[in-house]
Symmetry: C2
């Protein structure tokens, strides 16, 4: 057990109706690939603190502690309540990246950020040309870096030596479809095996 | 100049029509408070790379380099293209937090995450009770930690010794109204003065 790399499993699964089941399956799959999964905090932590705010903080503290103790991260970056990844998960990728740890991500859609932005968020336009850039009706620039999500996420994952798996899955959204997660595990296993 | 703390100014202002003007004003205000602002990367970096993807990565690399060289962060966490902060900015707060640097944030609204989630995103319901929790029509749990945004952001800012300013401003949204930013500068100045 001592040689196993410890993986921090990040993502908004805790909000699912079958959160415990999904998180247990993700943990088992990580084990099957020879990794030691850090149980997602919100599932294991007992309600602590006298207020909802203190309880929330206790989850945040537990997550930071688990990240500090983990060797790498696999982040579920499937769009959550909007066109981008869950901001808590994005925070966690940044946290692990700053510690120089490999960052892996996956998303249950193969539609890139530009598509989600222009089609889903802005309903296909209208857009205007403004010099070298394109702007939406709210005046905001429409960026197209041909990336999966925000450039900080894509860049950090690549620079860290990790992979960002974007795969259209049957269920879509943040659900219990774990084939993209599986592919991220495959990539992580290959990464660590190559270091031996 | 040598004693000045260097602040990384994070936020999605680069997408604004008047991005250069807003970023210049934010930089000047930081100077007025005795801080050394790191110019936001996307404004200063020349187009590099042969593809949009390489250009995007060059921005990501520049931002990471500037964060490494900065003493603290002030992040514009105003909801961006949805009900939460820009995910790139959330990534950056996590990055700076992991380096043990003070994190300050602000948002141009005083409506908390729970309100934005239940009223703006879910249009007021319907919601169902499921044991101890509330769920929306999509089955996702509705959390209420009485926090300004995702608990990882709120927790990190507080634990780091920083402040998260939530202030309803006239213009709303991500715009050139900088009074919440001003209040974050006041808080940061007080934080560093107290360390002397």
């Amino acid at each position: 057990m001592s040689g196993r790399k410890r993986v921090y499993l990040a993502g908004p699964e805790v909000f699912l109706r079958n959160a415990s089941e999904v998180m247990a399956r993700k943990g088992q799959m990580a084990l099957d690939f020879g990794f030691e999964p850090s149980t997602l905090a919100e599932d294991g932590v007992k309600l602590s603190g006298n207020t909802p705010h203190e309880f929330g903080m206790s989850i945040g503290v537990a997550n930071e502690t688990m990240m500090d103790a983990s060797d790498f991260i696999i982040a579920n970056l499937t769009p959550f309540r909007g066109i981008s990844a869950d901001v808590g998960t994005a925070f966690e990728v940044g946290y692990m990246r700053a510690q120089g740890k490999p960052c892996f991500g996956y998303t249950n859609t193969d539609r890139d950020y530009y598509t989600r932005l222009t089609v889903d968020y802005y309903s296909g336009g209208p857009f205007e040309e403004d010099g070298d850039v394109i702007r939406a009706r709210d005046g905001l620039m429409i960026e197209n870096h041909t990336m999966i999500d925000n450039l900080m996420l894509d860049t950090a994952i690549i620079l860290s030596g990790g992979s960002f798996v974007a795969k259209e899955v049957s269920g879509q959204g943040v659900d219990d479809e774990l084939s993209a997660y599986h592919d991220a595990l495959v990539a992580a296993r290959a990464f660590f095996d190559a270091q031996k």
